[in-house]
């Protein structure tokens, strides 16, 4: 007996049961509905009255209760056979990655890069050519600061760039701690290098790093960290 041959009361009962399975997966719903249709068809084929069959099945809402209770079901004491999935596991996309914390990390790096560009790519005075007879300046030579940068300033800028570049690439449980460490080091670096002026240029990057450190991780990230093995 196919679904189309079932009496109207049975079809209504099945429709009501399917409605209650809205929260179940499509696969689970299909499996449950297949079983119920087959059950009803078999019972009717044995000569049972449709009312008796439906009474014994119980109210359609009974179908959903065990399903909703058990989604997802964890059974730590019994290991079920592992079903081989042919679909590759889904990698987290850019939408999952770009949280407020990540955005602040990237902004911190961008500000460090901007500071380095501002300092390096401006021109600095190198020297002048003076006419020996008249004493007038004939020519003034300038070049990019990049080529004649004070080593202290160069090291500071490189350190700022490297430090702020790390947190965006760190995933997992280490990310919050790494972000906090970078924020601390950047703050100390910016403050201590203000005497060489470069500290003021990297201060915005340090502030962004501190903001990144203070932004809490999202619930999704927290769940992902919990699912990772310890030490990951």
């Amino acid at each position: 007996m196919t679904h189309n041959e079932l009496p109207a009361e049975a079809v209504s009962w099945l429709a009501a049961a399917e409605q209650t399975l809205r929260r179940a997966s499509a696969e689970q719903t299909a499996e449950i509905m297949d079983g119920l249709r087959s059950h009803i068809a078999e019972a009717l084929a044995r000569g049972e009255a449709v009312d008796d069959v439906l009474t014994r099945l119980g109210p359609p809402t009974d179908v959903a209760d065990p399903v909703l209770e058990e989604i997802p079901r964890r059974r730590p004491d019994i290991k079920p056979a592992q079903v081989q999935s042919t679909a590759p596991p889904q990698r987290p996309g850019i939408k999952d990655y770009m949280t407020a914390k990540r955005t602040a990390q990237i902004i911190s790096f961008a500000l460090a890069l901007l500071a380095a560009a501002i300092i390096s790519l401006r021109t600095g005075y190198v020297g002048s050519t003076i006419d020996p007879d008249t004493g007038e300046v004939i020519n003034t030579t300038t070049q990019l600061v990049l080529f004649s940068m004070d080593p202290k300033i160069a090291v500071t800028l490189i350190a700022a760039l490297l430090l702020t570049a790390v947190p965006p690439f760190v995933r997992g449980r280490r990310m919050p701690l790494t972000t906090a460490c970078v924020a601390g080091i950047m703050t100390i670096l910016a403050i201590t290098t203000t005497i060489w002026i470069v500290g003021w240029f990297i201060l915005p990057a340090a502030i962004a790093a501190v903001i990144a450190a203070t932004i809490p991780i999202t619930p999704r990230e927290r769940r992902a960290f919990r699912q990772q093995p310890a030490g990951a």
């Binding site: 696969e27 087959s38 119980g58 109210p59 065990p66 004491d77 079920p80």
Partner: protein, 111 residues
């Protein structure tokens, strides 16, 4: 107020799946047959509750299903126990019997 229905519902939860596996241990069985046996033993109230349970056993890999033609020519879905289901049932039996005995002893203990 604690009613017998509440107590039974609470007890059945967690036990019925293993009783279903025990029925499958005897050989491939179809849904109506299993439902009638479980209902006759008082292990399920409404027969429809068997099917979400079977769906879960299939998802967990403890049982598998197959459509077969019945004697009357109508397709019938048969459920069979997998090796994992057999192992799960053995684990349950090893846990249930001591638990059942402990509960019996506790209930019989004079206060």
């Amino acid at each position: 107020m604690v009613t017998s229905e509440r107590v039974l519902t609470s007890l059945r939860r967690g036990l019925v799946e293993f009783c279903a596996l025990a029925i499958l241990r005897d050989g491939p069985t179809y849904g109506l047959d299993m439902a009638r046996r479980l209902e006759a033993d008082g292990l399920i109230a409404g027969e429809s509750t068997l099917y979400p349970l079977l769906a879960r056993l299939l998802t967990s890999g403890l049982a598998e299903s197959e459509w077969q033609e019945s004697d009357a020519g109508r397709p019938r879905k048969y459920y069979t126990l997998t090796p994992a289901g057999r192992d799960a049932l053995e684990v349950f039996e090893n846990s249930w019997i001591p638990l059942r005995n402990a509960v019996d002893r506790t209930l019989r203990r004079p206060s």
